[in-house]
Symmetry: C2
Subunit: 226 residues, 2 copies
């Protein structure tokens, strides 16, 4: 089972989402540095490239047991190996994407959607015109076959790009197989997570509202300072 | 200037992103409750519907000056009005969406992408076949016309759905107008924010990695408990 990823250091098992987000960003940056033939990088340089404080970078990396050499920096290849190992799963995640609308297709065809850590194993839709066709090289099954295909193909993660009103029924049908460990929900539905299933919502419109709220606060501050 | 939104209470000007996210979720839920003719709701009911602790709900709403009546709950219409006012901008945000690929189209056509708080005023692409066409009712301009159209149409927010390698140049060209206050970046590019511009990254693949890391931690914990 343990061919791919390293175990997570015990004090990092409850690592927060923002930290994981930064680790992923470090990994992406280090891959670029390896490609560019850069052997060593400092926390200051990492921070500048990723808009982070160097103290934050040092803290994150020291958790992984990585300490840069003062005045020299981190060994790029070793740091990448450590980061990749922590982030890698014990086995490649097998993902089912449900809902081949514009967003589903956008995700499937995005070039960042390629990883050694996971693979989209099957896609699903309720539209008979889409069933049997191939999307980004993945065969589309009818949504009614979700439980069967999940079991056959050992799928443990779902990406839900279905309409809001369909999301809960899809999740429940999939979870009924006992195979599903997590779901990434792109619909605006607020889902009840079935037992044993972790649900993470990605609401791109809430991200927009967060930005707009910040801008409103800035505007207000500016007005007050006159 | 102050026709739409209420000022943000001074202690909430530095409100964190997760809190804003919850306020948006409360607003969305309350709109549904108003539609359903529900007059009163308790923090416990809100919490159950949104997978939040009722103590968290009470804390968030008390910041807004809203206190439910013990044993009764919150007046749904009044709470919605307060929330909507806090979240509403001083003027409707005018947004330019740059990059009409699958993701750009998915956003434009998404039914959640309708709000009284903002409007997409123009869309942009570098592909001459797309320029002059209409996308979700918005005329597509050539990317070279970005500065001119931003100035003419008083656009202050950008949504960047361009390829990674194009994102910084687009942002810089737009910021050069002095009109842009914020940008929502969907590309994987790590952008240098021009002075006075707030950049927010939405990396849907990092969200997937966050979920997968949590699942790995759960699996590891389960193994250790045997």
């Amino acid at each position: 089972m343990n061919d791919m990823g390293f175990p997570i250091p015990s004090k990092k098992e409850r690592i927060t989402d923002p930290t994981v987000g930064r680790l992923v960003a470090y990994r992406r940056l280090l891959m670029r540095l390896v490609d560019d033939g850069v052997p060593v990088v400092s926390s200051k340089e990492i921070g500048e490239m990723l808009r982070l404080k160097s103290s934050q970078v040092r803290k994150d990396l020291s958790y992984l047991g990585e300490f840069g050499k003062r005045g020299v920096g981190y060994d790029v290849s070793r740091l990448l190996e450590d980061l990749a190992g922590i982030l890698a799963p014990f086995e490649v995640w097998r993902i089912g994407l449900v809902g081949i609308g514009r967003l589903g297709e956008a995700l499937l065809n995005h070039r960042s959607f390629l990883s050694e850590n996971y693979e989209v194993t099957a896609v699903f839709d309720s539209n008979p015109d889409k069933v049997g066709r191939s999307y980004a090289g993945k065969l589309c099954y009818h949504i009614d076959d979700l439980p069967r295909v999940i079991a056959e193909k050992d799928i443990s993660v779902l990406i839900l790009t279905v309409p809001q009103q369909a999301a809960q029924a899809v999740l429940d049908a999939a979870a009924g197989t006992g195979k599903i460990e997590g779901a990434l929900n792109f619909s605006a539905a607020v889902l009840q997570a079935p037992p044993g299933v972790q649900v993470k919502d990605v609401d791109i419109f809430i991200e927009l509202e967060k930005l707009l709220f910040k801008l409103k606060a800035s505007e207000q501050k500016k007005k007050q300072s006159f």
